[in-house]
């Protein structure tokens, strides 16, 4: 049974986490996140960082696609802009990493606005196709521009903090996780204000939104800007994490991956972006684990890993769209609701 939800002022009712239990859970999660690197193996730390990067990017895509209703198949390409910016700055300028990340994000936001300009004229699928086209163009630019190292791409030095190189998952964890957490918090805040409401209004009924006082182009472009800013930051984190950026680092398949992540997690919910990105990052690892178990009996299992993963991705997209269109977040909500009423109604 849910208790303790009596509120005495509007601020309490507008809070992100409004029950004591929720606050407790968040506190526990933070504590766990702080303790995690000290107990986890490098493999798990590696995965945690990867999950966090994907959460950051998926949250960005969720703002654009899940909340504003503008489908993009360019999220990976936007990430590449951030990644290349960070790599170039790190190699040629040697500026501090936080500045590099910020510049990467801002530059990506500019690119995002450019890609978003057709969004007033074309909608829906046409826009999705325009973002594919933008991905192709960006890929070409990175593969041919001397500054970005052509097909070889760029190898970059690690991020440095007070002379300390952040080159192990343990150290990178302390960079990636807080940045991601701030980004998710920012996204959650966005939807407590008029900006977020405008995004949702555009998604649900863009024509009447205009008559109610929302300038469409401005907010569509703003959504593109925020979303690609997130992608750029995520791409920058990605660059610091892998330290090699090539044109093939961010293929179209990755854009589909992020789209799949928000579909599976739940479009238009912050929790959905988190759950979906973590889930989709873990699925290949789970498959690897299963393949390892099966190998003694079926030696070729590892060779099948790549195609099975492709099939599972596809099947997850299709399955969630048909059977659970609101994604994991909706399942989580159902579980919560069950406990809110338990034991009076089961």
């Amino acid at each position: 049974m849910r208790i303790g939800t009596l509120k005495t002022d509007y601020a309490a009712d507008e809070a992100l986490f409004d029950t004591r239990l929720q606050k407790l859970l968040i506190l526990l999660a933070c504590a766990a996140a702080v303790l995690f690197p000290f107990v986890a193996s490098p493999y798990w730390l590696f995965l945690a960082c990867l999950c966090a990067i994907n959460v950051a990017s998926a949250t960005g895509l969720n703002i654009l696609t899940g909340y504003t209703g503008l489908v993009s198949l360019g999220q990976a390409a936007f990430m590449s802009v951030g990644a290349y910016t960070v790599a170039v700055l790190e190699i040629h300028a040697g500026t501090p990493f936080l500045l590099n990340l910020l510049v990467g994000g801002l530059l990506t936001a500019l690119v995002g606005i450019g890609v978003g300009i057709p969004s007033l004229r074309v909608k829906g699928l046409y826009l999705a196709i325009a973002t594919i086209a933008a991905s192709v163009v960006l890929h070409f630019v990175f593969a041919h521009w001397p500054l970005t190292g052509g097909m070889q791409g760029l190898s970059m030095p690690p991020a440095r903090l007070f002379g300390l190189a952040l080159d192990q998952p343990f150290q990178l964890y302390w960079l990636i996780l807080p940045v991601t957490a701030l980004m998710v918090l920012g996204a959650a805040n966005l939807f407590r204000t008029r900006v977020g409401r405008a995004f949702i209004a555009i998604r649900d009924r863009d024509i009447s939104a205009e008559v109610l006082g929302i300038p469409l182009l401005r907010y569509k472009l703003m959504s593109f800007a925020v979303s690609s800013f997130y992608a750029g930051l995520a791409g920058g984190l990605w660059a610091y994490f892998f330290r090699v950026v090539t044109p093939e680092s961010f293929p179209l398949v990755n854009s589909i991956f992020y789209l799949a992540a928000i579909i599976v997690g739940g479009m238009g919910t912050i929790l959905g972006g988190i759950l979906g990105a973590v889930f989709m990052t873990m699925v290949p690892e789970l498959l690897k684990f299963v393949a390892g178990l099966v190998t003694p009996f079926y030696p070729d299992a590892l060779a099948l890993l790549a195609p099975v993963r492709t099939i599972v991705f596809g099947a997850l997209i299709v399955g969630f769209l048909i059977f659970e269109p609101h994604g994991l977040a909706e399942i989580w909500r159902r579980i919560r609701r069950f406990f809110h009423l338990w034991p009076f109604r089961t």
């Binding site: 004229r121 909608k123 196709i129 086209a133 299709v318």
Partner: protein
């Protein structure tokens, strides 16, 4: 001095591959007209056709004239299953969701093909006559020429069939207004099924031709991206647009590939795509109203 003969040969080669875009584009348009589904998996279905032919001809050692129908039937079967199992449950959902279902489908098909036939590129057994063909003085690779002829026959059959058959009328009625078509007694669900079956069969057949020319591989589905450009340029709901767009994009790719280098092909076609989206989002021949999706 410009070498006219060479230019002509490039042009003809472009027409050859353009015809394959056109025929796949026509299949795409058929599905779109009937069901308003943008089928991004068309490239993967085409790929499946190529592999089905390979399986029948190289695996089961069937002669080519049997293997080709096998491939087409395999495509049609997949079309039927997909329409029933994946598309129909999505009826009434937003077009975006259905579009993403087809993305998922493409992923499933690509993985499936890789599991059965492996990741390496394969060559289809030769089944087309290989005597060199000259048009005037210009040389045309025989496979390309036969591919062109076959594709043109199919496209013509389509255009005529749509204009003069009962099925064509039913399709047009469904495309114009599903509810109205249903209320005057047109079996709309059957139009849905048939369009998927026919379109996927045609795409699979095109896959055999594409595979005969360039070989088959699990990444052959990218062909679908070029087809996407073709149908956007021509207009999503226009058969004539698919034909013209296909030939146009084929020729453009041929010239871009020859004079700029292979990696420029996509850049050029997608730049055209962006241009079209900005200037004429419903394509050269498409219906204006579909701008609001």
């Amino acid at each position: 001095m410009t070498d006219w003969l060479f230019l002509t040969e490039v042009f003809l080669a472009g027409l050859g591959s353009g015809a394959l875009y056109a025929v796949t584009g026509v299949a795409f348009v058929l599905i779109y007209k009937a069901t308003r589904v943008v089928n991004l998996a068309i490239g993967e279905i085409l790929m499946l056709g190529g592999y089905a032919f390979f399986g029948a001809a190289a695996g089961w050692h069937l002669p080519a004239w049997v293997a080709l129908p096998v491939a087409i039937l395999a495509g049609a079967l997949v079309g039927a299953v997909v329409e029933r199992g994946l598309i129909r449950p999505m009826l009434g959902e937003s077009p975006i969701s259905v579009f993403m279902v087809t993305i998922g489908l493409g992923s499933i098909l690509a993985g499936f093909v890789q599991i059965v036939w492996g990741a390496d590129p394969l060559r289809l057994p030769e089944f087309l006559p290989s005597a060199p063909i000259f048009i005037g003085e210009a040389y045309v690779a025989p496979k390309v020429a036969y591919g062109f002829l076959a594709a043109m026959v199919v496209v013509t059959a389509f255009v005529l069939g749509l204009r003069f058959s009962r099925g064509g009328v039913a399709l047009k009625a469904t495309a114009a207004d599903q509810a109205a078509a249903y209320s005057v007694g047109i079996d709309v669900p059957r139009v849905f099924s048939l369009s998927w079956i026919v379109a996927c069969g045609v795409a699979a057949g095109a896959g055999v031709l594409v595979g005969a020319i360039g070989g088959i591989s699990p990444t052959m589905g990218v062909f679908g991206l070029s087809v996407l450009v073709v149908v956007i340029v021509g207009g999503l709901d226009s058969m004539a647009g698919a034909l013209v767009g296909g030939l146009f994009i084929g020729v453009v790719e041929a010239f871009a590939g020859t004079f700029l280098g292979g990696e420029y092909r996509f850049l050029v076609t997608f730049s055209i795509l962006i241009l079209i989206l900005m200037v004429r989002p419903y394509g050269l021949f498409g219906t204006h109203e579909i701008e609001r999706l």
